[in-house]
Symmetry: C2
Subunit: 490 residues, 2 copies
Amino acid sequence: MKWTKEARYRTYESMTLAEQKKLELSVSASPWRQHYHIQPMYGLLNDPNGFVWYNGRYYLFYQWFPFGAVHGMKHWFQTESADLVNWENKGVAIKPDYSFESHGIYSGSGIVHNNLLYLFYTANKRDEEWNRLASQCLVIMDKTGRMTKQATPIIKSQPEGYTEHFRDPKVWREKDNFYMVVGGQREDLTGCVLLYQSHDLKQWSWQGEVKTKERNFGFMWECPDYFELQNHGILLFSPQGIHSKGDSFQNIYQSGAFVGKPLNIANGHFDHCDFQEIDAGFDFYAPQTTVSPDGRRLLVGWMGLPDIEYPTDSEGWAHCLTLPRELSIEGNVLYQKPIRELKEKRKNEVSAKLELSDSVENLGTLSGNSFEMICEVEIGSAQRAGLKLRVGEGEETLLYLDHGVKKVVLDRTKTGTPFAQEYGTIRQKHYQKNKVRFQIFIDISSIEVFVNDGEIVFTSRLFPKIESQGIQFFAEKGSAKIEAIQWKYE
Amino acid sequence: MKWTKEARYRTYESMTLAEQKKLELSVSASPWRQHYHIQPMYGLLNDPNGFVWYNGRYYLFYQWFPFGAVHGMKHWFQTESADLVNWENKGVAIKPDYSFESHGIYSGSGIVHNNLLYLFYTANKRDEEWNRLASQCLVIMDKTGRMTKQATPIIKSQPEGYTEHFRDPKVWREKDNFYMVVGGQREDLTGCVLLYQSHDLKQWSWQGEVKTKERNFGFMWECPDYFELQNHGILLFSPQGIHSKGDSFQNIYQSGAFVGKPLNIANGHFDHCDFQEIDAGFDFYAPQTTVSPDGRRLLVGWMGLPDIEYPTDSEGWAHCLTLPRELSIEGNVLYQKPIRELKEKRKNEVSAKLELSDSVENLGTLSGNSFEMICEVEIGSAQRAGLKLRVGEGEETLLYLDHGVKKVVLDRTKTGTPFAQEYGTIRQKHYQKNKVRFQIFIDISSIEVFVNDGEIVFTSRLFPKIESQGIQFFAEKGSAKIEAIQWKYE
């Protein structure tokens, strides 16, 4: 299929039933459809948007191009859940209607005010010379689900001194004021975050930049999200153009946070520590947070990256969202734990306790392609010890401790159908103590590993054969102790 | 909406999701959607097709134009049922693929042979001057539901001496041979039935006409169906161009049967009684029969007629099928009884027993817009006695005995939204004995009345308000006894 401009810039409503059926058939033949992650019916999913608790349910929208696994006319697709575990597809929530949004409804956020859900998004337009025009817009949803879109943008364009890379509004409330951060780019092509203020969510005034200590940190900061947690101010964003450095910044684009003192909202000054990458895996971008009714700060990310080809692209669909995670701060480090609601999926428990000495153990009781597993690896004299997951003919995904360098390693070199190999096939992070706890979520084509209760997280897509379901434990050149509990998902 | 040729001759696959949504919204707002009859999701339903027991289920297809309530590009829509009561929509089964069927997949029938379902249909094509070209075609379905369409027609055109009005193949087996009747029109513009024979269901040879005693009986015979029942030969068909006569042939087009001796298949000679109309109601056409696994001859008809405007047309949908009926012969009369499977719907029984004397009784316990009712009316000295159904503000549908002329009368003069009034608003038939039994099926916008165990049947659409649910019993100028049992459907 040739993705001409005409083919990419169509609204979902113009899809014919023949096109729909073809996509459905193609997707239904995919061996890589997830069992318990949010994924598109067909087409391409990217950033999570408008994640919010409203009217007794969680709303979680995502960027969606319906016609195939490319980036084109973006819509907001709506999902809902009462429990953060079981999500219901609700169809397209926001689609291009007006001229100012003729080339896509881009990312944004939601906030509840006066019993209404205010959804802020970036309207993307291209003029005849294909110049981009970006504005920030508002649609208001009521409890019946009716959407009332503002007929003009609430912020018509970027401020002077900034380029048209002006997107991804995130709104929060502080006392009687509302604030918005928007991802931006200065005219010198460095990334930054722009700050707006409003009394009513409709009239917005520019406050200047969020003044961070990083004046030259990539060319664009996407998807900013500011919130406070345990008396810290946290600015989450997805910078583009950061060079890799040691084990960090290995992916094409990054996402992470400045953790600091609460933002000085009067002058935009933000006093913070160095940028910390939020995920150590291969496929993570554009996270967004919200607050649960009981006050937890929850995060969902896109389990994918722009400008990378994925094995499902040829099947007419791409990507999924991560599991929701609960954030916390320890020291100045942002921790992510899987939400406690996921425990409701724990049935069919099996466990194992092993002492390994330069050996590989294959326990028949532990296997699968859709499960949660908690595994503690205590490395003794071994040089390497850990797990092989999704083991099958010529396939394995390794998660282990490398004693010599004291690193946790996720190795997808032999994981299955290869992709994005130009960005390497190993991700690793330092660990401290010789006993490391892994909480692992495997789905048909993904892995999420929470190391030491969320100090490090590895989030990655994997594309092994569906029958590659083996789990092995190993210790090389010495001994190690491993304990594991597994809950297979039905 | 303007129904240009271009708008009428599109395949379902070319429907956009926006068009689909608009139709769905329009149909969902209709007050006349049926509760327990087969009806289209949207668009126009007409003839039942391919009614057959296969692979442990009943298959029942129907003619479908998806885009609105007009006749245009016809598809076969597929429904399935294990019990003849609960039907499942299965989507489009046959759509135009080849040039010879470029203007519609017209009516036909099914027969099971060697564990395969052979479906015969008429391919309709228009050339550039809009001349019609009709051929008979075959698609074979296997037990997995896969359809294999023959790439060329099995009968390329009508025989010499006949016009292009050549359609609606019905196939049956007799010993080692297969036979097909096709509706036809002689070049002198009189209707007839053409007979074909085959050994393998693929190669067909013309045998001449079915030689009936009616040489000049309307201009076209549609939907022929030949079968044998209780040692009689029965040729069911839908003649067009029959003038009304007494109480008969009141509708725009007719359907009925010649009941006779078994067809002499060697020479096509068919010795039969006069044509008998199969239904005395307002809305019935194009019936088709099949045989159940236990040997019953079952019939389903289209509860509608061509060339008539219906109140739902403006809602983007039209028509439904009748309930399935079991046929039998008493004397030389074709009886139709509701299939016994419908008794499974009998819950919530209420009954009444009344002696009326020039009065109207309104029993609160009996009411509804979706029910079955058995009612015996014994007319005494009354001039008229019977029922008023779907009674509401200014609305009523009458079913009564007219003692003076000894006729059963169905009167929809005040039934609700009027339509087809140019064909009259009363239908009536003679009865013999003064005690008459009615078995009545009311759905949201229809009535089917089986009189005296199926000797007479009245099938009609009704378009009253949904809240017109009253039932009244009446006797005028004298006395009558009425007993009724009602089962309201949930």
